[in-house]
Symmetry: C2
Subunit: 406 residues, 2 copies
């Protein structure tokens, strides 16, 4: 009796590649075998801030507990917004905590709220390609049409974007919103140059679109400090800036935030009333205290060291084990390695073999609007242990060499 009740969207919702990997892990576990996951963007388990969070919670005075356990503001806790304004200020972003910042249940919710507030069916959204499509499912859910523009070594290719914008304008189509992950982009790891960031803002003004700047990875910079966000150059208020604690502090706390002009944030807060009323009080308190005590900076320093070391280990293992035909660039930050294989290599078909041998990765087709692109894969080094990285890359290397021989 189920099927005829679903909406168009409900029918379209299908388990993705992650669900396939989770199922494989479950089945292997039943047989007493493990699965090395080089898939998601989970936190290094050993580095999670257990002691820091415990400490903060131990110190909560009774009067603050009452606020924590009661309904909170749909904008998020005032204390956290004030701390986030300071934290973002260090990156060159000015924001009034009273009205220009909203706390969200992870960055995913920010994307969802933006979709509600801005996107009507048929509206045009431009994204760089390859990109993590699951993150953009919200745009599609509200009926937006996605146009892509290529990403090269310097991030989103702005000349190609300008061509695209001209073509669309010639067709009488207006771009409403451009989505970009300018720093250590997922999956390519590339950083958009400062020149391109400035050009992008000029194009936004010229073609009258908004920029959604998603910055989950910027703080995980292996050489020097975080690249300056596009929002820091934004004089006009065209950028809605998103960031999150998920990659730098803890994913389980579900702390994300958006910064933008007052009117936009106000609408997002109203939309949040329909989504989940307000975010969890305890994790907002913890987040504010971790910031206030300067612990977030320490956690960022720690996790950058850990991820740089893991990246190096993965790169060394790949040099040793991967076939000559495999190509990759050294990411200067973030959590992922993006691997290009020769045309004809089928990362989707090989995933089942890899799962049987006990290793999981994300086939590159999940990052292209054209799913026939099958010669890329994304590897994650933040979650697996050092031993798992070495072993997992060894197994994949063997599998890929065999596959290329056929």
């Amino acid at each position: 009796m189920e099927e005829h009740f679903y909406s168009r969207l409900g029918k379209a919702l299908r388990p993705g590649v992650i669900a396939r990997v989770v199922l494989a892990a479950f089945e292997r576990a039943k047989r007493g075998e493990k699965l090395i996951s080089l898939t998601g963007g989970s936190y290094d388990p050993e580095s999670l801030p257990v002691r820091e969070v415990e400490e903060v919670i131990r110190d909560i005075p009774p009067e603050d507990w009452r606020d924590i356990l009661q309904y909170g503001s749909n904008l998020g806790s005032g204390k956290l917004r004030a701390e986030l304004a300071k934290f973002s200020g260090e990156a060159g972003i000015e924001a009034d905590p009273e009205g220009e910042i909203i706390v969200t249940t992870g960055s995913q919710q920010a994307l969802d709220l933006i979709s509600r507030v801005f996107l009507d069916p048929g509206d045009l959204v431009v994204v760089g390609e390859p990109t993590y499509l699951q993150a953009l499912a919200s745009f599609r859910l509200y009926g937006a049409e996605i146009e892509t523009t290529p990403i090269d070594e310097e991030g989103m290719n702005i000349d190609a974007l300008e061509e695209k914008l001209k073509d669309l304008r010639a067709e009488g189509r207006r771009v409403k919103l451009l989505y970009t992950v300018p720093s250590y982009q997922n999956p390519t790891g590339t950083v958009m140059t400062e020149h391109r960031r400035r050009r992008l803002l000029e194009l936004a003004a010229e073609y009258d679109f908004l920029i959604v700047e998603d910055n989950p990875y910027g703080y995980i910079s292996f050489e020097g400090s975080m690249p300056k966000p596009i929002k820091a150059y934004d004089k006009e208020g065209r950028v809605i800036y998103l960031s999150t604690f998920s990659k730098i502090v803890s994913p389980g706390l579900r702390i994300g935030w958006a910064i933008g002009r007052r009117g936009f944030i106000e609408k997002m807060a109203l939309a949040k009333m329909n989504a989940d009323i307000c975010s969890d009080g305890l994790s907002q308190y913890v987040a504010a205290e971790l910031l206030r005590r300067g612990l977030v900076h320490k956690l960022i320093d720690r996790i950058r060291r850990v991820y740089r070391e893991k990246r190096d280990l993965m790169l060394e293992s790949m040099e040793l084990h991967f076939p000559e035909e495999a190509e990759w660039r050294e990411p200067k930050g973030g959590l992922f390695l993006w691997v290009e294989m020769p045309i004809g290599f089928d990362a989707d078909a090989l995933l089942d073999d890899a799962l049987r041998r006990g290793v999981a990765y994300i086939p590159g087709s999940n990052f292209f609007t054209d799913p026939s692109v099958r010669n890329y894969l994304r590897l994650n080094y933040s979650y697996p242990s050092r031993e798992e990285i070495a072993e997992g890359i060894g197994i994949l290397g063997e599998l890929f060499r065999e596959a290329l021989k056929h």
Copy 2:
């Protein structure tokens, strides 16, 4: 530059009556004056489970902390789902924690996920009237059309519903979903009789629609135990049952859950990936432990006593101060008192006077699809202190007497 970017929905989002009250409270606070709020459904501040939550968190072993701070399942923590299955089992609801339960960020998110999975533009949703419309904004957001059916002393009037269903069928229109709060309904406080609950299920089968049973207030029963949920009579799997910790444990924890047939829950879990990926790990852990230790039952007993006493106090104060023309029924549970005034009385217009005198309530027009119904108001007794209840009702009584004299 803002306006032309908003979606149809974004344009429609406007601050509601609660925002007006919050603003008034803020302005009074600036002048050193307080505002007695008889508006929202917040928790009694003195009864919030500070000690219980602290205790549970103090006992978390390090290995559990790592799970808490990492990404979790989009279905919610397995441990919490197992506890919720037991908890709901006591109310006569059978559910497999592996696949028939999903944890949501409050009940509001469950409504949002249901809307995504089931509602296309033009789909028909039936709700009892009066009802809290803000909760139903999600249905409208996805384009559903709302039809209403009256609520009387025994809950949703099933004969009127049957007439409505017949009429709609005659017009060739199919109802997809019916939304009901059968126990201590907001705002009327009524309870749907067992007979009507069974008849509603028969009608759902006959007219082939789904029932969304929202049960935030059922546990707050002042005489005997919670009325048996409709879901407990549901053999066919037509009911999606929602409940929450917001009224019985803590709103700030943002713990809600939905129980339904496997296929429905699976789709809701996929939709949750787009909404916020997963709910907060720490509050889910706390919720599971409060259930496992039997503390939720103790909290329910405590809050029932507190709210019954506050209800009695509010009823006494109303007897004493309200004009003769005012009518109300004694609610047998829940958080609200629903007051009917003579036709011509304008609760919307009087709110500003009330705010100036330091008391806030919710005008009844917020609970009707026809906003010209202005002779009702909803009063909340869960949040204000005993002193505030007595003082607030006194002030309102005076104001209403004056208004009726003109």
